[in-house]
Structures are given as structure tokens and as C-alpha cells.
Symmetry: C2
Subunit: 321 residues, 2 copies
């Protein structure tokens, strides 16, 4: 085992940060390190936390960390932020996040953002989770923002998904809730002291009762937890502790019903596809660019001399056996 992998296993924060940053930057040397990290049997509970911007996810994550720390759990947090297509960097830096846990060596927080090849961000998140597992973190929290396809792909890495909603976000959100229903294991109504919280609660309960009738095999009844104002610290803490207990209950449910292995299998399949992209399609693209073929191909396409499919078929003939 190489030096970097060893340090990761020892829980070295500086090495882990550096490796995750290199994965984001798609440095090719990370592959050899990741080959070793992948084979480490991790035991982390991976928790996805998602919801629209403004739902208060960061404050909630902060308090979730506090609650799990009380149980002496070690924590890794991956914050997946909206990216700038130009800088490729996370906008909310690690520094301004999770300030209250900055001095706690058992809380490791990283922001992740990748722009580039299709599926790049989900791949980076997947690998970062393996790194945190290899470091021996008890809980890994993946915080994503938004509800698009990308977020759904990222959240697939999690075993327990917490969807955070706030009252009064308008009609469009109604539609999104139906989509979130499919990925949520736990719903949280955040800022539940606001107008409309009761209405939102009733709607969610209705949706859950309707959807649970569809599949009798699903023994997990999605709970809806209400969390009030973080300006009342004591009440806020208690409510978040209840949430953390529910999160652990869900993990227990997965384990007891042999569903954990199914989830891990799905996750592995997605990772393998991402590795195939990296090992088959990326080298072909790089080769086309190096041989100065890419630009003339784009010329032909913009001049409507050919179409992308015919051209892709020609490339396939050149590279595939």
C-alpha cells in the first residue's frame, strides 16, 4: 500500500483534503491511489441531505454534526455546491462552512464542485465518500442543493436520504415534492414555525399515505419531522436530535431487511459506469484532441456535412475492436 493510502487509513486530514482536491481537478495520478482506497472495507453510514436553495440545509447540517458528536460519532461532510462554469470552484468555501466545528478534529468538511466531463461531479463525490469511509468516519453527510438529475445521481451514493423543505415556496415546489417522494427516506419541514407549515405537513402525509399503498413490500413509512427556528437553540437542538435518531433507525431498518447490500450494489454499478467513462471515452477524446482531429470534426458538423451519430460511428470503428 502506498504512502498516501496509508495516511488516509490513519485519518490524516491534510492528505485527505489534498487527495479530494486532486480528484476534483481530475489529476490522473489519483486513479492508482483510489484503487487501494476502493478495496478498504468501510463501515460508514452515508446520509444524503438535499433540498432547494434557502431551505436552511447548512444550519441544519451544522446541528446534525453536533448531535452525532454527542454520540461520539466521527463525521465527514461533503458539501456539493452550485458551481461556476468558469472557475469550476465551489462558491461557498469550506472556510465559511461549519465554522462551529472548525476546531474539532473528528469533523472533516469539504466542498466539492466539478465542471467538465459528463458525470464528473457524481464520480468525484463517490470517490470522496470512499476516502471518508477509509478514514473510518462513522457518518458521512453529503449535502446537495437542488433537485435536478445531477442531484439525484449524487444522492444515489447515500443510504439514507433526508429531504429538507420549507413552508411557502410556491406551487412549483408542489411538483418537485412528488419527485422528491421517490428519493426521500425522511422528510424535514425546516423553519416549521413559519406560515404554511401545517399545510405542507398535511400535503406530505397525504402524499406518503398514497404512495405507500402502491408498494406493500416497503416496510419503511417515510416520517415527516418538523424543525422550528434555530434562534431557539434548545428546542432546535432537541428536534435535530430526534432527526438524528430517525436517521439511525433507517439504517437499522436497511440492515435488518437486507436492503443495505442492495443499495451498495446499485452504488457500485454507478461507480463502475463512471470508471468505464474515464478509462474508455476520455482517452478517445484526448486522442482526438492530440491528433488535431477534433476541430476538423466540429467544422464538418457545423457545416452540416455530416451528423454527430455518423461521425461517432466512424470514431467507434477506429477505436473499437
Amino acid at each position: 500500500m502506498n504512502e498516501i493510502s496509508k495516511k488516509i487509513l490513519e485519518g490524516n486530514i491534510r492528505t485527505a483534503s489534498h487527495l479530494i482536491r486532486n480528484i476534483e481537478d481530475k489529476m490522473p495520478e489519483t486513479d492508482e491511489i483510489m484503487k487501494e482506497i476502493f478495496k478498504v472495507k468501510g463501515n460508514s453510514h452515508v446520509i444524503g441531505l438535499t433540498g432547494a436553495p434557502g431551505a436552511g440545509k447548512s444550519t441544519l447540517t451544522d446541528e446534525i454534526i453536533t448531535a452525532f458528536r454527542k454520540k461520539n460519532n466521527t463525521i465527514g461532510v461533503l458539501a456539493v455546491d452550485p458551481t461556476s462554469p468558469f472557475t469550476g470552484g465551489a462558491i461557498l468555501g469550506d472556510r465559511i462552512r461549519m465554522m462551529s466545528h472548525a476546531s474539532d478534529k473528528d469533523v472533516f468538511v469539504r466542498s466539492l464542485a466539478t465542471r467538465g466531463a459528463t458525470g464528473g461531479l457524481s464520480k468525484a463525490v463517490g470517490e470522496a465518500i470512499y476516502i471518508l469511509e477509509a478514514m473510518g468516519k462513522d457518518k458521512v453527510i453529503v449535502e446537495t442543493c437542488g433537485v435536478g438529475q445531477q442531484e439525484v445521481d449524487i444522492i444515489d451514493h447515500a443510504q439514507t436520504v433526508v429531504v429538507v423543505l420549507v413552508p411557502g415556496m410556491g406551487d412549483e415546489v408542489q411538483a418537485i415534492k412528488a419527485g422528491l417522494m421517490e428519493i426521500a427516506d425522511i422528510f424535514v419541514i425546516n423553519k416549521a414555525d413559519r406560515d404554511g407549515a401545517d399545510k405542507l405537513y398535511r400535503e406530505l402525509i397525504n402524499m406518503i399515505s398514497m404512495s405507500s399503498k402502491k408498494s406493500d413490500s416497503n416496510l419503511w413509512e417515510i416520517p415527516v419531522l418538523r424543525i422550528g427556528n434555530f434562534k431557539e437553540p434548545k428546542k432546535f437542538s432537541e428536534e435535530v436530535e430526534k432527526l438524528c435518531n430517525k436517521i439511525e433507525e433507517h439504517y437499522e431498518y436497511l440492515y435488518q431487511n437486507k436492503l443495505l447490500s442492495t443499495k451498495i450494489r446499485q452504488k457500485t454499478k454507478a461507480e463502475f459506469k463512471e470508471a468505464l467513462w474515464a478509462k474508455i471515452l476520455e482517452p478517445i477524446l484526448n486522442n482526438l484532441i492530440e491528433e488535431n482531429k477534433m476541430e476538423s470534426m466540429i467544422d464538418k458538423l457545423t457545416n452540416k456535412e455530416t451528423d454527430p451519430y455518423t461521425l461517432a460511428e466512424e470514431v467507434a470503428k477506429q477505436y473499437l475492436i
Copy 2:
């Protein structure tokens, strides 16, 4: 030219709907049809409209259609909705969208949602745009929800990007605005009669003035338009008409400064990569599944006998020359 392509060129709505649905469902026979559609020289102005859930994009799109219809433009709308990972279907159906234009044969509205291979949604949107161009639509509006990587990929298909914001969406939105700055050609503050609209306006103007100093070559000053309550229909219509004029002004700017061809080139490159995925990686994946190799590979990975990279390299050796 085959029968379906001919009907698309004639503007046949039923054929176009069916073809787009088949593209979403990844029916392999669409490739041969798309090869012909790709080669049609279209002349549509592709407009991206994006923003967070609850920003009122649907109502705005509806009014934009009305404004462009007054100019006798024909319109195509692609609404890219958050998807359900299970059903793979759009949650807001076409039926409940754009009801006010339902009887207008020159307004063609489709919802798009794809779950599956990485990059699938962006590919489907790209192809649907070509279909609408081949139908001869003057304006193609692509409405997306959210600000993740996926949305950025989709919005890359557009020549003019309108970013819709609303006042009072909290601090997290601040960060997102910085990311949106990179993709926005026009900002709209929707629901501008709400508290906080002036603050949001000043922030945006500040951000624009800072970022425009960075690149002197960029002659387009991003405008910030304020649009009030749609419950005052006359004022709302006038404000949206101003927005539509700005949208056309931006297209004129791109054309005059020879930037249109740069944008089309970028778009073509992205489409070619998607075609390479479809013609190289998908056949390999299907082959692994057909030969029953996939499941045993996943077994090896979950048992930690190997890692995704080593396995992907082995697959690459089998299939690549």
C-alpha cells in the same frame, strides 16, 4: 429523406411529439431519423430560461409566448422538469402547462425528463431543439429548474440565457447568484413588487459592474429587468414585452459580433461527445449485460476483490483496438 423527417419539416405536431417521446425513451430507431434532422439548417433563436423553484418561471414563459406571438413568431417550448427517478416522467405534464396557448397551433410545448445514462437529459434536450428548429420555429424556449451542473449543461444549448430571480430567497441564493452570473445574458427580478427587490437589484448591478471590468472584450452589459405582479395583467404584459425586446437585442448582438458561430460550435462539441457516449460506451455496457458479465463484475467489486478502475481497464483492453 424518410417519412418522419419529412413530416417534421412540414411542422407536423403529432410526429414531433412522438419523436421527442421516443428520444426520451432512448428508442434506438431515433438515431437514423435524427441523422437527417441534424443536417437541416435551422434558424431558431434558442432561449434558455432558468431559476430556482418558486421563481415563477412558468407564468413568465406563458407571457413571453404571448409577447412573441404578437410579433407573429412561431414558438417551441421545452420544459425540463425535475424527474422522478422511478417513473422517469415529467411531473408537470404538458397538459397543465401553458394552458392559455393550448389552442394555438404555432405554439408547441413539450415537457422533457430522462432518467438513465449519464448526460441523457442534456442529449435529449439537444435533439429536441434540433427537431423544433427543423419544424421552423422562430423561437425555442428551454425552461429549466435549478442551478446544478445538469442545468448548466442544458442551458449550454441556448444562445440567450435569461436567469429569473425573486426577492427574499435567503443567503444561500447569494452564492448561487455568483454562479448564475457566469451563464446569464439577462437577469429578471420576478415578483419585483415584493420586499427586498431593490436590495436584490442593487446586488445584481454591483456584481455585474465588478465582473464586467474583468473582461473588456465583452461588449454586452447584462441587463437587470424588474417584472412585477402578474395579477396586474397590463403592467405585467408591458414588462414582459420589454424583456422580449432585450432577448432579441441580445441575439442581434451575438450576430453582429460573430459570437453566434462560437456558441453554435460549443453546442456542437457537446453534442458530439454525447453521440460518442451513445455509440461507444452504451454498446459496451449492453454487451456486458447481454453476456451476463455485468452482474459477476459487480459481485467482484462489492466483495472488494478488485476496484472499478482496474476492472474498467480490463474492459477497455477487451473492446478497444
